[in-house]
Assembly symmetry: C2
Amino acid sequence: VKLPQGYRFAATYAGIRKRPEPDLALMVSDVEATAAGLFTQNVVRAAPVILSAQHLVKSGGRCRGIIVNAGNANCATSSMAKAARASTQAVARLLGTSSSRILVASTGVIGEPLDERKITAALPSMVERLSPEHFPACARAIMTTDTIPKTAFGELATGQGAIRTAGMAKGAGMIHPRMATMLGFLFTDAAVPAPLLQRMLRSAAGRTFNRISVDSDTSTNDTLFLLANGRSGVSLGPKTLQAFDETLRQVAEELAIAIARDGEGARKLLTIEVEGAASDRSAEQLARAIANSPLVKTALAGADPNWGRFLSAAGASGVKFDPSKVDLCLNGHLICHRGLRAEFSEPEVQKTMLGDESKLLFQIRGKGAGKARFWTCDLTADYIRINADYRT
Amino acid sequence: VKLPQGYRFAATYAGIRKRPEPDLALMVSDVEATAAGLFTQNVVRAAPVILSAQHLVKSGGRCRGIIVNAGNANCATSSMAKAARASTQAVARLLGTSSSRILVASTGVIGEPLDERKITAALPSMVERLSPEHFPACARAIMTTDTIPKTAFGELATGQGAIRTAGMAKGAGMIHPRMATMLGFLFTDAAVPAPLLQRMLRSAAGRTFNRISVDSDTSTNDTLFLLANGRSGVSLGPKTLQAFDETLRQVAEELAIAIARDGEGARKLLTIEVEGAASDRSAEQLARAIANSPLVKTALAGADPNWGRFLSAAGASGVKFDPSKVDLCLNGHLICHRGLRAEFSEPEVQKTMLGDESKLLFQIRGKGAGKARFWTCDLTADYIRINADYRT
């Protein structure tokens, strides 16, 4: 796997979380990159979200580095703005740029003060150790209840040479992003003007990070950044633009699916495809309702092809449809035909649900062209254990 | 406890559910009562919901009896309409009335055919045994995963004599009613014209059954009926109308709270009060978002005063508010002051959360007069166990 050119990374344990594992990540572009960002729509927003949004405006979408900590959300404390500001200022000083060129993100517990001195003290040695090879270490340092780091890579050959894109994300709980995952960082060495980059990021996220749900909670810290530093020497033309858009979507989709699969306590991934809805928007609404239903998610945990729950969840989505026009297909087996139980072997379908991936096709017969894909995970007793004990 | 006059009840085991416990309930008014009904807003509707709604229209809001089965939702099968129709016809024949005077409700698994012969065969002996004293037996027969029967009673003294009201309900899972609980049956011996009765039922449900959530799933079978047979001899006048409205609300609230408290796997009840919102509607939206948050519900299970989760859930509700104007008070302890952590003893507040009832006050400082109460329960590993194994 080759990283995009001109990016370097460093991770360390700065003592922010109790468990002594890396909790601070620094991601730097050798040259100023164009940058795009998407943030939580929660009205309760963490300081890093507020500050990063300001920096993107102030810099006109330009960025040299991103500083990320795990273990503390830096949210809902009186010192949160100060901590976020001090972190970006310290990074800016060390990189020799202005602080508006530094973006910041945090994840962890809400309402506990973040001591920025832990971050500023760790930064000088991190800057010295910056290297492309620490990309995986950063993907690990941003984890909270994630069980595995999440990275994805894409490469696009063009007449002018290759464009590489790499991404990392963390998720696990409080995941029902409406604009971004909990935290996601995408890097490309393509050259893309900032406004176009923002549009591309929004479009990619709409079909990927915005289509996953673990527990329907929307975090105060959701952040997704995309940096484009142009170091590949390739500028996107009319021809390559669409191909790059597709690469971006693929990298984002891979990360989004990894988040859903690694949901807190999850053992199984469920891909939901809706077809035949009146519009893509209503298809998404149907898929989202199915993905959010605790009864669907527990049925998946129990390997129970309880199709009535899928149908009922869709029925309560707010989208009008005729149940007698609905077919449900689970792992290739027709389990519901025109709104009624289909002839199927329950043990056989149950067996397919024991695997770690299941796929539900929700098909409305008729002329509707609306479709959507959505990803969710099963709801297990481990989700309860993790969240009832989170701080203790 | 005295029941309203002129109602009789019977329950039996008709072999609809596997576990050999009463699963069929018959509720009869000696004389034709006025009747009001509220039904699920799910577009996937069970046959009893569709048929009862038709009967209320056809009869002009008049009813002699209600037949209810547990163990089978009579939903999403090709024979569901036939089964519901046959049940009401059999009851009507035995009571000597037309089938439009019979209402029907079902609860249980979706998508399995309901054999109406089990019901029609059990009915004759049930009609013979009709008696006021079987009211509690009916409350038991309509249970599915409920752990206790739910009944409530109210009595209102008027110049003309006493009006009595009694209700029963079942809930437990798939409870996020937007207009009624899963199943609820209210009886009064007041005399109330059908259109007024419908308005009163809608108003009472809006403040009670529509303000509870167990798992945010909306059932295909939600049904709430209110019968008024006039046998108290008391007609509601301008003075008593409001007092009766309050009695009705109290009975409905008691049942609604009992449903939330007995949510699947639940050990604790959480009462959420929102004050200071721009309107009652946005207060309800805030309360609903908090009540539905799995992270709030697991924090309650773990006795964790994790106020950031309450704030974040409200922030993602879609209601705009200024977090720095929010105070949170949990069991009488201020845990969040103006959007920030308040000074409080964590062990002390934790201790209050070990009890089986907790109360959260979400207060927005300012001039907003909007308020709402909402009830939910904790989310425990038992919820997963119950729903991952429901049919096996």
